[in-house]
């Protein structure tokens, strides 16, 4: 873990409609670094799902993307309500999203499973009333 590049974002929790801009920016940055398109796609989709979750479920938070030689790490940290039952939340189709959020095309209950699908490792550290920290890793290989 010697040399690495960090991208840091404050994710605003107020605007559902324009949510996801940090992930779109990361995609652009990773492209400029000349990384493999499939890796970029996986990282940016996983981050987008997490970023949207921070906006729709947790009132915003902070996102960090660390690019190391062998892997990319995505850390999403919020001070939202926390996830009471992570196992349940991970199930495809489980969602507590509001009707408004659903009308925008979110709330399919597939976000966490997409994050797992597209990354090589995912850790969810969540405490009710404190917040949620999700750490994902995508290997360069």
């Amino acid at each position: 873990m010697s040399e690495f590049v960090n991208f840091h974002f404050d994710v605003d929790g107020d605007n559902f409609v324009s949510a996801g801009q940090a992930s779109v920016k990361v995609k652009k940055n990773l492209r400029e670094m000349g990384l493999d398109p499939d890796i970029i796609r996986r990282v940016s989709i996983a981050m987008y799902e997490g970023e949207i979750n921070m906006v729709i479920h947790a009132g915003g938070g902070v996102a960090d993307v660390n690019v190391y030689k062998d892997y990319i790490e995505i850390i999403l940290d919020d001070h939202g309500p926390g996830i009471p039952n992570v196992e349940l939340a991970m199930q495809e189709g489980y969602s507590t999203a509001s009707d408004h959020v659903r009308s925008l095309g979110f709330g399919a209950g597939m976000g966490l499973s997409n994050m797992k699908r597209y990354t090589d490792d995912m850790q969810i550290d969540s405490t009710v009333g404190v917040g949620t920290k999700i750490t994902m890793r995508v290997n360069m290989e």
Binding site: S23, V24, K27, Y48, F106
Partner: protein, 108 residues
């Protein structure tokens, strides 16, 4: 076939065409964004009736070759501008998703 060629041959309305040389391959139909992100593949044509800003973000993240808005769905100018900025091609059709795809399926 490129997005440009597809639009011309099947007379789609062009909403945006910033990267018309992208190659179309396969298709995904859907309006729920997480399904699109989980199931659509890079290069796919994405047929949807959603019309908010998130469509542009998802199209860009998934690397679809183009979005086709079915049922005559239109976009606000702000969204069109964002699509151009992000290099997202968007076509539109007054037909249903099924009728739209019936026409172009053999090209995908």
């Amino acid at each position: 076939m490129t997005v440009n060629q597809l639009a011309t041959k099947y007379a789609f309305s062009v909403v945006t065409m910033p990267e018309g040389e992208k190659i179309v391959s396969g298709c995904y139909v859907g309006d729920l964004l997480s399904w699109v992100m989980g199931r659509a593949k890079a290069g796919n044509v994405w047929v949807t009736i959603m019309s908010n800003l998130n469509v542009v973000a998802v199209a860009s993240l998934v690397d679809v070759s183009c979005v086709i808005l079915a049922e005559g769905v239109t976009l606000d100018k702000e969204i069109v501008d964002m699509a151009v900025e992000k290099g997202v091609n968007i076509l539109s059709s007054s037909k249903t998703a099924f009728e739209t795809l019936k026409d172009i399926a053999s090209e995908l």
